[in-house]
């Protein structure tokens, strides 16, 4: 079967996407779970242990508090309460912490520090897996055991106001609720007023047992303007007054009820210095946890340094406080200060219940649980406890009894700590089988791509895919048979759940057929190559292959980047790698321009076989006769034109343009500090977004939009020119409407809207320009004579994407867009055209710049930097599909814009008919090398300390990038097809 190399590469990337999907499904493991999920609440509580005489206390202990109010403030960082901000803006809370009857802690949230997994952690006490971040957007109902579920079965009445996620997680659990959507980030007053407005009524009524309030405003402020914004102070004061209202009301109510009430103030996650969250920095992980009740002792003195506890401890504590069974999957331990005031027997009973629950979870998840130190401690303390109970039942109130009791207590606390730790560090088993299947598919595709480099970059850009050679059908059936046997064996013997085994037979069979077909193709290509290699070795026509410095740099840079992915620091600071490579590329280009301008090309060897794409050293030897001829001819018209075509000021521009590009990159680098180590450094972006510099930001945004217009309009038809101008104007109006920039004639307008109309106005033009572009492309295909029309059409599609990016980028990122267009123009005019690089080199350069621009935008390999506000531009409510698409485009705008520029550039250059398919092949190859290497690396590093905080987010990014690449390759191939039908 003959295929164009572009089509071939697209198919390969598509198969790779499938492989990565299977791998990802296996990699993100199911969290630690109790297997006894089916029988909720049917289990009787563990009876009190006793040696000899049987204890009479077998029921659950009675509740400690009558009413519980949980005030959850989204993104409440620990220093907002315990730090200077807390003293300044939350006086009442500070008073309660320092002098009131309260216990305060710093609760550590585990990454991912995103709302839904954190709610789950708070209420179930379990550690949700990383994959919950992805599911965060459509949270399904929580199936696991939780405090809420237990309270519902115990007949407690729960009222909830706040983030809608809760309502989705616990449908039908609340007797009364009012959900506010958490996705409309730019609103931070309404969202909280919608919670507070119910308070007076509910507090007066008192016909409930549990009240949960989830305030979102603080998080929204963080997303908009960061933790140092003046808005934070206002919000904290507002929260303080809410807390005061609840506390006073609870205190006044307490006289009517026999038991005291409990007020819990907590945060779900913190907030990084940039105002977002998701990763594992100290600011994002540490949240305050304050338990307030008149049952607690008033402790005098200042507590500046609260004890660090785990966020998962809250579930167990709440369950004990309400007299409920502890949720089955909870890995947390009881916060002991809460029960400190109770009699010794009760304290021991609570601790015993908690340890029994944890050890049960341990038994279900760890095969060798008996050797676990925590389990041994548990057995020991249970025995001691039994002895103590016997003593207690025999004689009461003695000094000995108390001392013995506190000894048992300490033993229990130690056991709890060890058990909790060993449970939470126990990473759930990776689904190795699915991972292996995915890896095998991806690696086979990569090998196939690498092996077909010489053929695909041949002048004809076609290659033979030996699908139906008879010798291999036997191999094919054999491999299928072996794979099926392995599948059956693995799936019948595996103890842990396996995604790939859970698939239907048809799907699994399909994947296996694919894998074995790929293997056969690889083997046959390899044999062909060896046979062909022997043939070509007989007549060694190419004695020396000369590599230009640029090819060498491209090869080494790609290899270096791929290798650097194995180190966590390099993954965190990947932007540095790309900046470094792009700078070096510019210097290499500069050297090349100097050589071209001052020395001419005479030093080039006469028949230097220039390796088209420096990705495989060995391919040099495999290139056969015709290829050499083609390259020679290519070179023939390359060398004279290079030095003659440059005269006068153009020559100086050629010499200066690499330096100009370097300067642009340096400016962009200081716009957004990203990564981890230097993320706290001051950068231009923060300076611009602070509220004092609104005027500067407005001017900068306006200039950037103007530059964008000037640079983009030159290739457009007049209709799209007008549409573009109006669209860019609309972008500015949109930003002015949501209050990030302002008009000179309205210096301080207070009315801030969501800018729906303005944004939709721009969308109309985006769609219009894209439509015009597509129409031009179709027309050029039908008429088949107008080559110019196709170039215009491609440029219009490019400009439509630019307009969309301008709408989605935050105003301080608009210079990134302008500079990207500027660099593209400079490169096209003064470097690629005069120096006549070949398609492969140009593709790799586009890819590198695209990657660098991904980071110039402020992205990093960290979930927190994804700008989700891009998904809500012009949308009234959260609509899933557009929001996801817009966010993806906003995040990957850099690579996508460079790729679309590549398509336009290569099809406007007429020198080689196969340039586009070469480019498509190279793009696919250069994108799939890092992904394939990375999944192998991640598999081998799966027990690394930073696997969750550093490597997993990068894996998600890589998966997404591959998906984007697949889309780009499809676009490439479509363009290539129109070209083929034309000629």
């Amino acid at each position: 079967m003959r295929l164009g190399s572009g089509t071939f590469a697209t198919c390969c990337v598509a198969i790779e996407v499938l492989g990565i999907a299977v791998f990802l499904r296996g990699f993100f493991p199911a969290p630690v779970r109790s297997s006894a999920r089916a029988v909720h609440g049917a289990e009787p509580p563990a009876p009190e242990p006793s040696a000899g005489a049987s204890s009479n206390w077998t029921t659950l202990p009675s509740p400690l508090f009558s009413k519980v109010v949980i005030v959850l403030i989204d993104a409440l960082r620990d220093d907002f309460v315990f730090g200077s901000k807390g003293v300044k803006f939350m006086p009442y809370t500070t008073y309660l912490v320092e002098k009131g009857a309260s216990h305060s802690f710093v609760a550590e949230a585990k990454p991912p520090t995103v709302t839904m997994p954190r709610i789950k952690a708070l209420m179930t006490g379990s550690l949700p897996g990383f994959v919950d971040v992805v599911r965060n957007l459509n949270s399904p109902a929580l199936l696991e055991d939780s405090v809420i579920r237990q309270a519902k079965t115990a007949g407690k009445r729960i009222i909830f106001y706040g983030d809608e996620t809760w309502v989705k997680l616990f449908p039908k659990h609340f007797v009364e609720y009012d959900g506010t959507t958490s996705f409309f980030v730019s609103d931070y007053t309404e969202v909280d007023n919608n919670v507070t407005r119910h308070l007076d009524k509910v507090l007066k009524r008192g016909d409930w047992d549990m009240l949960i309030l989830h305030y979102l405003g603080l998080d929204h402020i963080g997303h908009i303007s960061g933790p140092n914004s003046p808005l934070i102070g206002h919000k904290l004061s507002e929260m303080d007054s809410v807390l005061m209202k609840i506390h006073t009301s609870l205190q006044s109510k307490e006289r009517e009820t026999p038991l005291p009430n409990l007020l819990v103030l907590c945060g779900d996650h913190g907030m990084s210095e940039t105002g977002s969250h998701g990763a594992s920095s100290m600011e994002e992980v540490n949240t305050p946890l304050i338990l307030i009740s008149s049952a607690f002792e008033r402790k005098p003195g200042d507590i500046r340094h609260p004890k660090h506890v785990q966020q998962t401890d809250v579930a167990a504590t709440l369950a004990i406080a309400l007299g409920l069974p502890i949720p089955k999957d909870s890995v947390g331990s009881l916060l002991f200060p809460v029960v400190e005031g109770r009699p010794m027997r009760e304290q021991l009973r609570f601790l015993h219940l908690n340890t029994v629950q944890l050890s049960k979870l341990l038994q279900e998840n760890v095969p060798s649980y008996e050797k676990d130190p925590g389990f041994e401690q548990f057995k020991m303390s249970e025995r001691l406890h039994g002895n103590w109970i016997r003593l207690y039942l025999e004689e009461k109130h003695s000094e000995v009894l108390f001392n013995l009791g506190s000894k048992v207590l300490r033993q229990y606390l130690a056991a709890l700590k060890t058990l909790s730790l060993s449970l939470s560090t126990q990473v759930a088993q990776y689904d190795m089988y699915s991972m292996m299947v995915g890896t095998v598919v991806v690696l086979e595709v990569l090998t196939l791509l690498l092996l077909s480099v010489p053929q695909a970059l041949h002048r004809k850009a076609e290659l033979e895919v030996p699908l139906s050679s008879p010798g291999f059908s036997l191999l094919f059936y054999l491999v299928i048979l072996v794979l099926s046997a392995v599948h059956v064996i693995v799936c019948t013997s595996a103890e842990s759940s396996c995604y790939f085994c859970g698939l239907s037979w048809l799907a699994a069979g399909g994947v296996m057929v694919l894998a074995s077909a790929l293997l056969c193709v690889v083997v046959s290509v390899l044999t062909n190559m060896l046979v062909g290699g022997n043939a070509s070795r007989k007549n060694p026509v190419h004695p020396s292959s000369r590599w230009s410095e640029l090819d060498l740099l491209i090869l080494l840079g790609t290899a270096g980047h791929v290798l650097s992915l194995g180190a966590s620091s390099f993954v965190e600071e990947e932007h540095q790698t790309w900046y470094f490579l792009v700078n070096t590329l510019c210097l290499a280009l500069s050297q090349e321009t100097y050589r071209n301008c001052f020395l001419g090309d005479d030093s080039e060897p006469p028949c230097g076989l220039r390796v088209e794409q420096g990705l495989d050293r060995a391919t040099a030897a495999w290139q056969d006769g015709p290829a050499c001829d083609a390259l020679e001819r290519d070179k023939g018209h390359r060398s004279p034109s290079a030095s003659q075509g440059l005269r006068g000021h153009e020559k100086w521009m050629v010499l200066a343009s690499p330096w100009l590009i370097l300067a642009c990159c340096r400016l962009l680098r200081s716009l957004n500090q990203t990564g981890v180590q230097w993320a706290h450094r001051p950068d231009l972006g923060h300076w611009l977004t602070s509220s004092d510099h609104k005027a500067e930001l407005s001017v900068l945004a306006a200039i950037s939009l103007l530059v964008v217009f000037v640079l983009v309009q030159r290739g457009c038809s007049s209709v799209s020119k007008a549409a573009l101008a109006l669209g860019l104007l609309g972008v500015y109006c949109y930003r002015a409407a949501i209050g990030s920039v302002r008009f000179p004639w309205r210096p301080d307008s207070k009315d801030i809207s969501k800018g729906i109309i303005e944004a939709r106005f721009v969308y109309v033009f985006v769609l219009g320009i894209l439509f015009t572009g597509t129409k031009d492309l179709l027309k050029s295909q039908v008429i088949a004579t107008d080559f110019q029309l196709k170039t215009v059409g491609l440029w219009e599609i490019h400009s439509g994407l630019v307009l969309l990016a301008a709408l989605l980028f935050r105003p301080h990122n608009l210079p990134v867009l302008a500079f990207s267009l500027l660099i593209q123009t400079l490169m096209t005019k003064f470097i690629w055209k005069p120096l006549r690089h070949d398609a492969a080199e140009i593709t790799v350069m586009h890819y590198w710049f695209g990657q660098a621009f991904f980071y110039f935008q402020g992205n990093s390999n960290n979930i927190a930097t994804v700008d989700i506000s891009a998904g809500f531009v012009g949308l009234d409510t959260y609509v899933e599909i557009p929001a996801v698409l817009l966010t993806a485009f906003g995040t990957y705008a850099g690579p996508v814009l460079w790729a679309s520029h590549l398509v336009h550039f290569l099809s406007s250059e007429t020198r080689s008919s196969s340039a586009l398919s070469h480019a498509c092949f190279c793009y696919a190859l250069i994108c799939s090398i890092p992904v394939s290497t990375y999944i192998v690396l991640v598999t081998s590093l799966r027990y690394h300390l930073f696997i969750w905080s550093v490597f997993s987010p990068k894996l998600l990014y890589e998966g997404m990038h591959l998906l984007i690449t697949a889309a780009v390759c499809v676009f490439f191939t479509a363009m290539d097809q129109t070209r083929l039908t034309q000629s």
């Binding site: 966590s568 390099f570 900046y579 470094f580 700078n583 030093s603 370097l662 990159c665 340096r666 680098r669």
Partner: protein, 219 residues
């Protein structure tokens, strides 16, 4: 004749290496608390001075370039002044390149500049000694197939290896090992120094190894 040339080349290179080693050990005799990492800037100045001095002495003693025959005093002085200007220019342009590569613009400016000075010492000073302030000759030497003697060949190799060393020296900076030598610009200066030394060692050996294949236009 060729072998004696290569021997001379090797000896001069060994002297250069020796001067770098001396710059590490001699100052500790006179200065208290001297160490490469802690008083890095002092070491940079001293090392740069030593290497420049050795290069100048070698230039005067060995005179590998026999072409300059006119030797009026004024000519010598202008030549020297020109060399100084070239050296300063190269320092400043290196500084600019470092900033473009991402070195902080304002803070640590002195450190960055001294890095530029030491890199110029390793690259520009030998060029100035060997080729003089003659840009045409520089371009010739650093283009393909342009070298015309083993001196120029070794010059090309040491210069490129210094650059590559400095380039590679930047790689460990993002790693989170928190070592004192990861601070900007220590790893880069060390990389440049190692690259220079490697170039000095490798180039005579490489020339000796390939002496049969090497043919120069002049010889």
């Amino acid at each position: 004749m060729k072998d004696t040339d290569i021997k001379r080349l090797l000896y001069t290179h060994l002297l250069c290496i020796f001067s770098i080693i001396l710059s590490v050990f001699i100052p500790s005799l006179f200065l208290e608390n001297f160490s490469i990492l802690e008083t890095h800037l002092t070491w940079l100045c001293i090392c740069s001075g030593f290497v420049t001095a050795v290069n100048l002495v070698l230039y005067l003693a060995v005179k590998p370039n026999t072409s300059s025959k006119r030797s009026s005093l004024s000519h010598k002085v202008t030549r020297f002044l020109k060399c100084c200007i070239y050296f300063l220019m190269s320092c400043f342009s290196f500084h600019v390149i470092f900033v473009l590569y991402g070195a902080p613009l304002i803070e640590l400016a002195l450190e960055t500049f001294l890095f530029a000075v030491i890199l110029s010492t390793f690259t520009t000073v030998p060029c100035l000694c060997l080729l003089g302030p003659n840009l045409k000759a520089w371009l010739r030497v650093f283009s393909r197939n342009g070298v015309s003697s083993i001196w120029e060949n070794s010059l090309q190799m040491t210069t490129i290896s210094s650059f590559v060393g400095a380039w590679l020296g930047a790689l460990p900076i993002p790693l989170d090992w928190e070592r004192p030598w990861q601070v900007w610009p220590i790893s880069c200066t060390l990389g440049a120094t190692f690259g220079y030394v490697a170039g000095l060692v490798i180039s005579p050996l490489w020339i000796y190894w390939n002496r049969k294949q090497l043919t120069y236009k002049n010889n």
